[in-house]
Amino acid sequence: MFVSRKSVRVLTSAVAGIAALGMASAATAKVDGDTIILGAAISLTGKYATNGIHAQKGYEFAVKKINDTGGVQVGGKSYKLKVQYYDDESTPARGAQLAERLINQDGIKYMLGPYSSGLTKAIAPVTEKYKIPMVEAEGASRSLFTQGYRYMFAVLSTSEQYLASSIALAGEVAEQKGMKASDVKIAMAFENDPFSLDVRAGVVDDAKKLGMKIVIDDKLPRDLSDMTSTLTKVKALKPDLLVVSGHSKGAATAARQIQELKIDTPMIAMTHCEAADVVGKFGADASEGLLCPTQWAETLSYSDPLMGTAAEYDAAFKKAYPEYTTVPYQTAQATAAVMVWADAFGRAKSTDTEDLRDALASTDMKTFYGGIKFSEAGNNIAKPMVLRQIQDGEYNVVAPSKWASSELRYPRQPKN
């Protein structure tokens, strides 16, 4: 069929017109009557599904609580909150696609973050491009905050803080024993992936500040779950502190092989103890004395008017979702992200994205999850990481001392 150039041009402009109309109608959908709609692409299936669902429950719990207590006040008018979800299938490309879809097709103007640093890294460029503010709760990688993003705010502590507190603790213990902090020898085993290397960077920085000596610096390959050659070195060099980070696989491997090879390092800190369920897998005796960092614990003395104390949040969440016996920190921080949005709407007295961005940037609030105040880069600088020690199968907060509920057991005494 012959098609003239003119008719092609007419057709193109017609299509463009329809698209523009579609965008225009979508642009008003962000506030629907008396409901403010937030958007989130989150991992409901795939390898991050477990934690993705934890986060989603955290969002939902906050939304329900806020709506039950009168909703969000914007310039004298009361709005309900609602979240529109898509499943990103734990793949970054899908996450970025869905963020486009939320913004372009569904007209979402306010975003909540996905689960994991990888997905956040995929979505942040999209929200930046459209100048849509996003409050994220599950992406801790340091590299997220070096890109100069203006519209992204994170409520959690960044990854380089995860194990840094164990370095400070080792220094304190050394001084109590009459040694110098600079006498402490550190062995490090980190998986060779962006998250774990961030954690490592924080440890190296703090060790350098205190003048500690790093005697082992192994980067574990991503694929094989064996640490014997690293642990053989640990046995030979007898460091004072062993730090390990490698997601659930690293924690499970380390906890098991530390027990099997009878590693007697007096202080051992590792990430992801809870996710790997080291107590459940290997028993309280084998995991006795391990130090595990966490973003949040229900025993902390934080509180706010909406959720009450951390312990009250914990109880209320378990009541709403009886299938949970402990509340993961992924859930608590997701709840905090929604609270940050509610607070920003109240202070901005507007639904305009630029006003809201500025309101978010000046957030300074106390919540059950800890203080929340954003740096220029968008990370939360008001909340420290806390360190818990596994004591008789229980996770007890031992550092920083301001929030410690239990004494540190030093040296660790596993019963083999």
């Binding site: 477990t50 694929d223 064996d226 050659s229 659930s248 696989k249 098991r256």
Partner: protein, 299 residues
């Protein structure tokens, strides 16, 4: 690196420890590679789902622990179940691609690998799992500590390998498998039911993987997506040993385990796999050089 070498020099006992650990690791790899070499040699199918079958075996052990059983109980169960599954997979999928070109079978087994991963993910979720044996460890001298589960795995792997070798040499089926590997058409002419042989070979491989998987779940951790680790190592071992060289596969398996462990200690854990692949390159270059020498001989 020099620090680590001097450490080895000062305390050679560390070297003994590393080699022993490598031996234990190598035994499992050798077992998996043996199965791969079998299927590759007999059917000319490169089974990309090899590692995923190992992980599947691991989940059988995990399931046993969920029912309150000791994971070692799962070993015979995994052998039997995986044999049946392997036979089923052959009838459904492999039979249709065995005579096609290489890419068809690669694609088919790759698809199978994805399928196994996703099914495991749906049933057990993405978290890492272990099957705790509780065998403990024993100390030899003042430095060497051996995890008993690894020692038992080495012995079990040895027994399994020996049983397979005897089976291949002595039994009727073993002879038929070897005949088919040599020349499938000739075997058919002489009355061997090659379809049956193929099915049996693939099922036997699945059994071997299942058994290896039970050991893996007791020694390391399993997760639906970790199969690739075992696939890659099995391919490296078979490539290094050469096809149709089953004793070579076992030796290469042990060699890989020990070299990986020692180089992990000396160069740092991040270079362990690189060291292994570099070794493979050297082995292949050596073999190439040798084959040139052979060709130059006037016969």
């Amino acid at each position: 690196m020099l620090d680590n070498l001097s450490l080895l020099w000062q305390a050679p006992i560390i070297g003994v420890d590393l080699l022993l650990q490598g031996l234990f690791i190598g035994a499992i790899f050798a077992l998996v590679a043996y199965g791969l070499a079998l299927v590759w040699g007999v059917m000319n199918v490169k089974n990309l789902a090899q590692g995923d079958m190992v992980i599947l075996g691991g989940y059988i052990a995990y399931q046993a622990t969920l029912w309150g059983l000791h994971p070692i109980v799962a070993l015979p169960a995994a052998i039997v179940l995986m044999f049946g599954l392997g036979w089923g997979i052959y009838v459904l999928i492999i039979r249709r691609v065995v005579d096609r070109d290489m890419f068809t079978s690669l694609l088919a087994t790759f698809g199978l690998s994805l399928l196994i991963q996703q099914v495991l993910n749906l049933i057990y979720g993405p978290e890492v799992k272990v099957a705790e044996s509780g065998f403990g460890s024993m100390e030899i001298g003042s430095f060497i500590i051996i995890q008993n589960v690894r020692l038992y795995s080495l012995l079990l792997a040895g027994v399994l390998a020996a049983a397979i070798i005897v089976f291949m040499k002595r039994s009727r089926m073993g002879q038929a498998i070897r005949a088919t590997a040599q020349d499938a058409r000739a075997a058919r002419v002489l009355g061997v039911n090659t379809d049956h042989v193929y099915a049996f070979t693939y099922a036997l491989n699945a059994s071997i993987c299942g058994a290896a998987g039970v050991l893996v779940a007791m020694i390391w951790v399993i997760q639906p997506y970790y199969g690739i680790v075992y696939s890659i190592r099995a391919f490296i071992i078979v490539t290094a040993a050469g096809l149709g060289n089953l004793p070579g596969v076992i030796i290469a398996g042990f060699g890989l385990g020990m070299w990986e462990n020692v180089s992990g200690f000396v160069f740092g854990a991040e270079f362990a796999v690189a060291a292994v692949v570099l070794m493979l390159v050297f082995v292949l270059m050596y073999r190439l050089a040798q084959s040139y020498r052979v060709r130059q001989v006037v016969r």
